[in-house]
């Protein structure tokens, strides 16, 4: 004698992106905090010291925010024109920033007034940075020159004018104080060595370079420009490792996560993309406006994105601790200890074990199905919680009723209220390719059963009309898709050379598109 076999809820894979560990990691951010700045945000830089404040350069000022504050802790407002490229020194105590008028200013984090001003550039300075020794500042300017400044004396040490267009990207080496990388609108990326006083390596990016980035090992270099993100192998003399084209507008910024060195790129197409170590996109953040700048905090605690409309959006990482505190507040039942009481007893070796008969636990709808109460089972499956959060369970019960040949009985004899429930469920899920077949059948049966009495209830009538409209629209859509499929088929057949085997190869593709159409 076998026991009752409960209704099987089939697991049907959803079409769309697959859930991986990486996507779970990157999904684990809270909804973004939005802070309004005065103008387009051109640069964001995190302080290397905890608590990891970050400097946001926008319009004529630089604001420094704390990790969780929405108001700036400190702001530097002594710029006459637009400020650019505010960056911290390695110890987080000094900040350097360029500006539209060509001046480079050096600030103490605790002060207000600039400690030093480096004069020499004739045009706007978009990029400034400390070299890794901390005593020199390097800057890239629109006057095609790249200059190195001494911090203590505020004098220019050297000027490099190898680029032939604006310099808009700069990255100093962290391992060697004499090395830095620049990217320019002349489509080249150059590696400069201060010891030789000239560039030691030049790479052709092919598009105006917007951002350059060195991996912590400094063997790999990332450059972004146009719609392309390129990764170069410096140890192989600047060989192109990979070229990525995942954005459909200019990629403006890139940064590396500190956990596992994942590359993130932001673009004017309003997306931030996260790549895995084999440079496949694993996650995507959507923003409201074109992205100009982006930075990620150490340990990936926060992701700050600056946009053209002056909105700074900061995503903080969600911690398990937060969740636990939330749930512990909600739970009022007995503690875990109560449930495991006596169950964690481990029998000794020579103990004789008397096993309890295993009780079969059944869901409520299964119990009702077991006793052939079909209408009640359908009611249970259509309860609000199941209906909304687990539609597959509801559909599984419908399929089971169909299999038993009692679906008609279960649907018959319902009042207006329960009929609206069913119709609402149909409206919501009838286009889901996983559910459409059984649900269309339900729709048919409902129409058959209640044909005579529909006009008595305006609510039901309205729902039916809506159902008819959406079904009509869906049918049109399907027709269009079939037309597209036909076009594709002809294209494929004309593309492939006239060989029998090749014609066969086209069929899986066609089938795939059919699947999508369905």
């Amino acid at each position: 004698m076998a026991s009752f076999k409960p209704t099987k809820v089939p697991f049907l894979p959803k079409l769309g992106e697959k859930v991986t560990e990486e996507t779970l990691y990157w999904k684990n951010y809270k909804s973004p905090v939005q802070i309004k700045e005065f103008g387009a945000i051109t640069k964001i830089d995190f302080s290397p010291l905890p608590p990891h404040n970050y400097a946001v350069t926008a319009s004529t000022r630089i604001h420094i925010y704390g990790p969780h504050s929405q108001e700036p802790i400190r702001s530097f407002t002594r710029f006459r024109d637009t400020a650019y490229g505010g960056r911290f020194r390695g110890d987080g105590k000094l900040l350097v920033a360029g500006s539209e008028e060509g001046l480079i200013r050096l600030f103490d984090i605790s002060g207000r007034v600039a400690l030093r001003q480096f004069k020499g550039h004739t045009k706007a300075v978009h990029m400034t940075s400390f070299l890794s020794d901390g005593f020199r500042v390097v800057s890239g300017s629109d006057d095609l020159s790249c200059r190195v400044w001494d911090v203590p004396s505020a004098v220019e040490l050297s000027s490099l004018t190898e680029h032939t267009d604006y310099i808009r990207a700069l990255a100093p080496s962290k391992l060697n104080p004499d090395l830095f990388v620049t990217g320019s609108y002349d489509h080249t990326v150059k590696v400069f060595d201060m010891r030789s006083g000239s560039s030691v390596m030049t790479m052709q990016h092919g598009h105006p370079v917007e951002c350059v980035l060195l991996y912590p090992s400094e063997a790999l270099l990332v450059s972004t420009g146009g719609r392309y993100v390129k990764v170069w192998d410096l140890l192989k003399g600047g060989q192109e490792l990979v070229s990525l084209k995942n954005h459909h507008k200019t990629v403006t910024c890139a940064c590396l996560s500190s956990v596992g060195n994942k590359l993130l790129t932001g673009s004017l197409d309003r997306h931030v993309k996260v790549y895995n170590s084999s440079y496949k996109v694993v996650h995507n953040f959507d923003c409201d406006a074109s992205i100009l700048s982006m930075a990620i905090a150490p340990d990936d605690e926060a992701l700050a994105v600056g946009m053209t409309n002056g909105v700074l959006s900061v995503r903080h990482r969600r911690h398990k601790k937060d969740k636990e505190t939330l749930t512990s507040r909600r739970r009022r039942g007995p503690s875990y200890q109560v449930f495991v009481k006596g169950k964690n007893f481990v029998p000794r070796q020579d103990d004789f074990l008397v096993s309890k008969p295993v009780k079969q636990y059944l869901r409520k709808y299964d119990k009702q199905l077991k006793s052939f109460e079909v209408s009640k089972a359908l009611d249970t499956a259509l309860q609000t919680w199941t209906r909304t959060s687990k539609p597959d369970v509801t559909v599984a019960v419908i399929i089971e009723l169909k299999r038993r040949g009692t679906l008609k009985n279960a649907l018959a004899g319902r009042n207006e209220e329960s009929l609206t429930k069913i119709l609402n469920f149909l409206l919501k899920h009838i286009f889901d390719p996983r559910f459409s077949r059984p649900l269309l059948m339900v729709g048919d049966i409902v129409l058959d059963l209640y044909q005579q009495v529909f006009h008595q209830s305006p609510v039901v009538e309205r729902l039916l009309q809506r159902l008819m409209e959406v079904l009509g629209r869906e049918a049109e859509l399907q027709q269009e898709l079939l037309q597209v499929l036909g076009i594709l088929d002809t294209l494929f057949t004309s593309l492939t050379p006239r060989k029998e085997v090749a014609a066969l190869a086209a069929s899986p593709v066609a089938q795939e598109s059919q699947l999508q159409a369905a």
């Binding site: 004698m1 089939p10 040949g405």
Partner: protein
Amino acid sequence: MAITVVSVKKVLLLRTLPLKLNEEVVEEYGSHRFMLSHGCRFVLCASGDLVKVYSTRTEEWLHSLQGHTNQVTGIALNPANHLQVYSCSADGTVKLWDFIDGILIKTFIIGYPLFAIYVSEKHEGVLFLHVSMATDSKNECFQLVAVHLPKSAEQEVEAKEMSVVSSHISSNPSCTAFGRGGEYIAFARRLQLNVYFFRKQKTCSFSLKATDKKGAQNAFTCITCHPTDDCIATGHEDGKIRLWRNFIHKKEYTYSTQHWHHNAVNTLCFTPEGTHLLSGGIESVLVQWQYGAGNRKEFLPRLGGSILHISASSDGQLFCTSHSDNKITVIESSFKVCGVLQGLVKGDAVLTDLMIDPRSKALVLNGKPGHLQFYSLLRDKHLYNLDIVQQEYIYEAGLDQFEVAKAAFDIKGSWLATVEERGQKSSDLEFFLKLWAFDERTQSFVLNTTITAAHTDRIISMCFSSSEETTMLVTIAEDGQFKAWCQGADADTQQNQNFWSCDFVGSYHNLKPTNCSFSADSSLLAVSFQEVITIWSPETWEMLTTLCQPPGIIRDLCFGRLSCSKYLLGTTTRNLLCCWNLLTCALEWSSSVEVSKLQPDPLSENVAAFSYQSKHTDLFVFKPSEPRPLFTNKNVCSEKVHRAVFVPREELLNNCDESSQWLNRSQLYFLTQNMDLLTFSTATEEDRMLSSSKQLVIDDSVAVTPFYLLLGKHRQQQQKLNTQSHPAADKPQQPQGSVTIKELLHTPAHVLPAASVLCSMFVNSLLISNTGVQQDCLREEMDSEKEEEDSEEEMEACDSQQELRVQGSVDEVMLKLSKAQERELKRVRKTDFSWMADLIDSKP
């Protein structure tokens, strides 16, 4: 020439009879001497032309009662002797058996085909039989006949004395029943219930309307009578049970109706005390109604196939239900299943091929609805059912159920692919392709992948690749495509799980594929599309060549094995068997045979072809390399053969005979359309089987009592000793003590001497003595002498006889203790005395 060597053997167990006459009896059997519990020991069951005896406790088949020449249609216990059973058969005989030892006691020849048998305690020496009197089979006319058994000592007796009780009765044997110890007999036919009273010699009949107001059908389906009360319970086609009372007065009869079954009630049975009524039907739920308590009932659901028959043992300890799926369930009176006797499950149809599980070497085919059954051919035993559909089975007539339509094993037996289908009749076909992985730990198959929409139309056939390294499944479907499925080919899911996914989709000019086959080394795949065979390379999925031999659609395809692996065989619908050479891509030979099934032997080059021509099936066994058959057997059976399988042998046979050489490595089993599983076996095998069945001796013919257990231990030790000393002996030597013990246990209690007298004898019997054998035979002589003595002293009063006998046994004990010489002396004296008496008699 070969029929003498090779004979067809039936391996079916527990065949369900077409007339639903499958009757089984649970018999209580035990000795009365020690006042022990009435143990229900045996289940008797009619199966084909045999009556099989099973043990209820071990669920083992003990032996069968052989002798009838046609189907056994009914069995009934002899009410006069509870160790004997009557069986009636369609061959027109009733046989009386001792079912414990399997001995035929008597045969009564009736002369008409018999269809059921009823007996009653009150009518000793009278059998009630269903007899078909019709000359032509069209208008069936059954009669209930009372047959008086002639008292004669002969083995075979013709029973002539017959009287007709009723000339129009239902063909269903459960529509007749004896009431209240045989005072009346009730039988129903369609809408009429008749009660025949033996004392008054008259029949009362009650009839129901064909339908009542609600449109229910009132026809009778079964009848049973209360053992002590005047009450008849009847089951009806609409599922109602009616309890008739007061039917002695024709005008004042009443009945009450109870309704639980939603379909026809197949069987009814009262418990021996009459406290409960058991009923069963197609729902496979055993319902226990409390008698006289109205609607109170208990259920035992999900027993298997629909219940055909229920019987209760005479002490009410056990119930037994027989099911349509070739099963007998033994149920305790506390409503708990305590045993299942399962034969080869016979569903409505075998949709899958016959397959051999490469691991267990079991035969695999459709079993219970939605299951695959694993059946060990070696032990002739049902092993287990694998649940494929994994859904609650709803027992309802006319409901469209999921059925396992296709199944295939890979070469190592680590993967099983199944296709389940629903809605063959209606337009919307639902089917699933499932892949099962063998789990080493649980030693069974576990579901690995379910593919919901493998094809857009029905899957026609599938096969696994035959290479050991990579497993690949190819399915062909009516949508004109064939698909190759591989394990773990999906790169998108990052976890390294062994799921199956589609690797390749192929088609050929949108033709419908008909069959597919892998070559022996799985370097080639042949897929037939209507009249064309396409050959593919599974590595690159390139089509290599096409073969075609019009006209006629290709039906079966198979590659040759071993030395014949360059050949491809195909059969077409236009009676053609073709053999292509794959090296030259040309037709090697063809022959005009209508082949219904082509089956290659995996262990040799041989291929078996079943051909169906003019209402009988012929078998040809041949090698693809030569068009001349190795072995031909005309007229194997009269039905078409669609399923066949070669079963590898455990040990190779060494047959030199040319015609049976093909059976050396494997055995051919095939299934006819009548669902009979047949096989070929050689003469030597047959002999071995017969001898092994003779060796089977039932040893435990003594009821289990504390006393028996005590003795049993002793006996076991002795047997062990015996087997150690004579390992080659066919039958263990009968232990010496057991004769005494048997006598002790089998003699009625009232004739036994006092326990104090017996004690010393009993203790003595337990001792192992060297002279035991001698003593035994001596004692037997003593017994015969004692009888002589009795006959001589007939003239003495009857009262003293009892005393004398006790005396005799005391003497016996005394004698046993005394020396053998003394006994001999006594015997001499006794013989002297008799001789003297003779002399005295003769002198005057």
